[in-house]
C-alpha cells in the first residue's frame, strides 16, 4: 500500500493530538488563576470562603455592585487611569525622542547616557523608594499624582529608550537621508518617517509604560497619604486587612482592574505587525 507523502504543513494524527493536548494543558494552567478569581467574584460572599470547592455557586453580581457603589474603588480606578495614561504619554514621548537621538545622532556623552540608562534599571525599587521619597518631599510632591507619574517614568523611560533605540536602529538610514533631501529637518523626519515605521515598537512601549503604572503598589503606598488619592494597587490593599480579608471586594476589584489593561493590550497588539519597513529599501 502506498501512502501519500505528508505535506510540509501536515502532521501525523498522534503528533497532532500530543501537540494540542500539551498546548491546551499549558493554556489551562496559565488561565486557571484568572478564571478562579473570576468565578469567585460572582459567588456570594460566604460561598467564596467556604471549605467546599465549587466552580459556580449561586452566581451573582452583588460583589460588583458592592465594590462599585459602596467603596472608594471608582475614585481609585479613576486615579489609576489618570496616572497610567500620563505615565504612558510622557514616558513614550521621552523614550521615543531619546531613543531617536541615541539611534541617529552623535553627541558628547552619548555612551555615558546609555550606560546610565542601563544601570538605573538594575536598582530594585525597594532601594529607590527612600531617596525618591525625599526628592518628592523636597519638591512638595508627596500625596500628588505627579509624584507617581514621575516615579513610574524613572522606571519605564530607561528601558523603553533602550528598546526604541534598538527599533529605530532597524529602520534604514537611507530613509532619513531621503527625507532630508525631500526637505525635512530632524524633527519632521522623526514625525513623518520614523514614528510611522516604528509602530510596533511604540505599541510595546505604550503597553509597558501603562502596565508599569497600572499595577504598581510600592511607590503608591509610600507617596500617597490620603485615601481619596490612592491608586488601585494601593487601594485594594485596604480590602485585605490582616485578620479579615474581604475576598468578595478583592475578587470583583481584581476582575475590574484587568479590563483597562486588556483594553490597552488589545489596541497595542493590533500594531504589532512585522515587516513595516519592507519594500522601502533593497539590500
Amino acid at each position: 500500500m502506498s501512502r501519500r507523502p505528508r505535506g510540509r504543513d501536515e502532521r501525523s494524527l498522534g503528533a497532532s493530538v500530543a501537540l494540542h493536548a500539551t498546548l491546551l494543558t499549558a493554556t489551562a494552567i496559565a488561565l486557571f488563576p484568572v478564571l478562579w478569581v473570576f468565578l469567585a467574584s460572582i459567588k456570594p460572599q460566604n460561598a467564596i470562603q467556604s471549605s467546599k470547592v465549587t466552580l459556580i455557586d449561586h452566581p451573582t453580581l452583588e460583589n460588583y455592585r458592592h465594590v462599585l457603589f459602596d467603596t472608594s474603588f471608582p475614585t481609585w480606578f479613576l486615579n489609576s487611569v489618570v496616572v497610567a495614561v500620563f505615565t504612558m504619554v510622557i514616558g513614550m514621548a521621552m523614550s521615543a525622542t531619546a531613543g531617536y537621538a541615541l539611534s541617529r545622532f552623535n553627541f558628547p556623552g552619548k555612551r555615558g547616557l546609555m550606560w546610565v540608562f542601563l544601570i538605573t534599571q538594575m536598582f530594585p525599587v525597594a532601594i529607590l523608594i527612600v531617596p525618591i521619597y525625599s526628592i518628592m518631599a523636597s519638591l512638595n510632591l508627596i500625596d500628588t499624582k505627579a509624584s507617581l507619574v514621575i516615579a513610574y517614568c524613572t522606571v519605564a523611560v530607561p528601558f523603553c529608550t533602550w528598546m526604541l533605540r534598538g527599533y529605530f536602529d532597524t529602520i534604514p538610514r537611507d530613509l532619513d537621508e531621503a527625507a532630508a533631501l525631500d526637505g525635512l529637518g530632524p524633527f519632521k523626519t522623526f514625525w513623518y518617517v520614523i514614528l510611522p515605521l516604528a509602530r510596533p515598537g511604540l505599541a510595546v512601549t505604550a503597553f509597558y509604560t501603562f502596565l508599569t503604572a497600572w499595577g504598581e503598589v510600592a511607590y503608591a503606598i509610600a507617596f500617597i497619604l490620603s485615601d481619596k488619592k490612592l491608586t488601585l494597587g494601593a487601594g485594594l490593599q485596604q480590602f485585605v486587612p490582616q485578620f479579615n480579608p474581604q475576598w468578595d471586594l478583592l475578587t470583583a476589584g481584581a476582575v475590574l482592574i484587568m479590563l483597562p489593561a486588556s483594553l490597552v493590550f488589545y489596541f497595542a497588539q493590533r500594531h504589532l505587525v512585522a515587516g513595516l519597513t519592507a519594500g522601502g529599501t533593497k539590500g
Binding site: L175, A180, G279
Partner: protein
C-alpha cells in the same frame, strides 16, 4: 534654466581615517549635462555624490550649485533630488504619496501635487500603481518610483547613486536608455554614479573617472576611450579591457618577445626609464601571416566566436602582460583554433604609451 555644479578642491576625510575618501576633487558639471562618475569599488564615487547632496561634510574645499556656495548648506536647502541605490522609498506611503511627499512638505496645493505626480507617473508608466505600497512592487517598478520621486521635484540637480545595480541585466539595459532619454528631455543637470564602465560610456555626456579618491580624467566617452590620460583609465574603460604591459626599451623600440615594436619618437623623448608601459586595445591588433619584425607570437588559449565579431585569448610568448592573457579582436568565422600559434602586430597609430613611473600617457604624435 539648468544649473552648473562645481566641485572646488572638495575633500572628504572620514573621521578616524587618515587618507581622504575624496581628495581635492576639482570638477565642473556643465549646465544640463549628464555627468557620470565611474571607478572601481571604494574609489569615492558615493562620497563625492553625498558631499554634493549635503549628506556628507566637506572637510575642505567648496561645492557650488550655480552661483550658490552650498558647501555648508543643509540637504533640504540645496534643491537637489537623489535616487538612492537602495531606492529608499517610504514604506508606509503609497507610490503616489512617495512621489508627492517632498511637494507636500514644501506646501504645494493638493491639486498641484496631484497634477505633477500624475504627469510623472505617466512618463514612468506608473499610473496603475499609484495606490500601492512599495512592498507590492517589483524591483524595476520601485526603481521607477524612486526616479519619479526625483523628477516631480523639478530640482536644479539630479543625483543618482548606482540606481540600476539592483535590476537584472536585461532591465538594466532598457532602463539605462530610458533614464538617459528622460534626462535629455528634462535638461536637468545630472550626476550619475556607477561602477559599470558600459553604463558610463553609454549614458554620459562626459565621464569622470575616479581612483582612490583622486580624479583621473574627465572627458566625453569616446575621448576617454581614444585618449586615456593614464594607464589606469586605459585599463578601466573598454570591454574587453585594453592589453597593458611593461616592456624593455632598446634603441627606441619596445621589446615584446622576439618583436621590436618601434615607439613614437615623442614618446621615447619623454621617457626617462629603460622600460615603457604599452597599451593596445583588442581591435588595435592585426594578425600577420609569417614573419614581421614588429610582430609577436601568441599561443591561442580560447577563441570566442560571437558571430559578428570574434575574440582570441592567448599568452604572449617571451613577455608578460598585466593581465595573464592577451585579448585580440579578429575577423569572425575564420578564427584560428585553440592551441595554434599566431602572430600579431600593433597598429602603430592605435598604440598607447605610458610612463612606467607615473602611469601618465606619453605623447605619441
Amino acid at each position: 534654466m539648468s544649473t552648473p555644479v562645481v566641485f572646488d578642491a572638495a575633500t572628504r576625510v572620514y573621521p578616524g581615517s587618515t587618507t581622504p575618501a575624496v581628495d581635492s576633487l576639482d570638477l565642473e558639471v556643465r549646465a544640463g549635462e549628464f555627468l557620470v562618475l565611474v571607478g572601481p569599488s571604494g574609489c569615492g564615487k558615493s562620497t563625492s555624490l553625498r558631499m554634493l547632496a549635503g549628506l556628507e561634510d566637506v572637510t575642505s574645499g567648496a561645492i557650488r550649485i550655480g552661483e550658490r556656495d552650498v558647501t555648508h548648506l543643509r540637504p533640504k536647502d540645496r534643491d537637489i533630488a537623489m535616487v538612492f541605490q537602495s531606492y529608499a522609498l517610504y514604506p508606509h506611503l503609497t507610490v503616489g504619496e512617495n512621489m508627492g511627499f517632498a511637494l507636500k512638505i514644501a506646501g504645494l496645493s493638493k491639486a498641484e501635487i496631484t497634477a505633477r505626480v500624475t504627469d510623472a507617473a505617466k512618463v514612468l508608466d506608473l499610473e496603475p500603481y499609484l495606490d500601492r505600497k512599495p512592498k507590492a512592487l517589483s524591483g524595476g517598478q520601485r526603481q521607477r518610483v524612486a526616479m519619479g520621486r526625483a523628477i516631480v521635484r523639478e530640482p536644479q540637480v539630479f543625483l543618482m547613486d548606482e540606481p540600476l545595480s539592483n535590476l537584472d541585466a536585461k532591465l538594466r539595459v532598457s532602463t539605462r536608455t530610458q533614464i538617459a532619454a528622460l534626462q535629455r528631455r528634462l535638461g536637468i543637470t545630472t550626476v550619475y554614479v556607477t561602477h559599470d564602465q558600459v553604463e558610463a560610456m553609454t549614458m554620459g555626456d562626459r565621464v569622470a573617472v575616479l581612483k582612490d579618491g583622486i580624479l583621473q580624467q574627465v572627458a566625453a566617452p569616446l575621448e576617454l576611450y581614444d585618449k586615456p590620460a593614464n594607464a589606469f583609465v586605459a585599463g578601466f574603460i573598454g570591454s574587453p579591457a585594453m592589453n597593458l604591459g611593461t616592456f624593455r626599451v632598446e634603441d627606441g623600440a619596445a621589446v615584446i618577445g622576439e618583436a621590436r615594436v618601434p615607439l613614437p619618437r615623442t614618446a621615447t623623448a619623454a621617457l626617462t626609464e629603460s622600460e615603457v608601459v604599452l597599451g593596445f586595445r583588442p581591435e588595435a591588433l592585426e594578425m600577420v601571416a609569417g614573419y614581421a619584425p614588429d610582430a609577436f607570437a601568441v599561443e591561442v588559449l580560447v577563441a570566442e566566436e560571437l558571430g559578428s565579431e570574434a575574440f582570441l585569448y592567448g599568452t604572449l610568448e617571451g613577455a608578460s602582460l598585466r593581465d595573464p592573457q592577451l585579448v585580440a579582436k579578429v575577423a569572425p568565422r575564420s578564427v584560428p583554433p585553440k592551441g595554434s600559434r599566431v602572430h600579431f602586430r600593433i597598429l602603430p597609430d592605435r598604440m598607447h604609451v605610458f610612463s612606467p613611473a607615473t602611469g601618465e600617457a606619453l605623447p605619441t604624435a
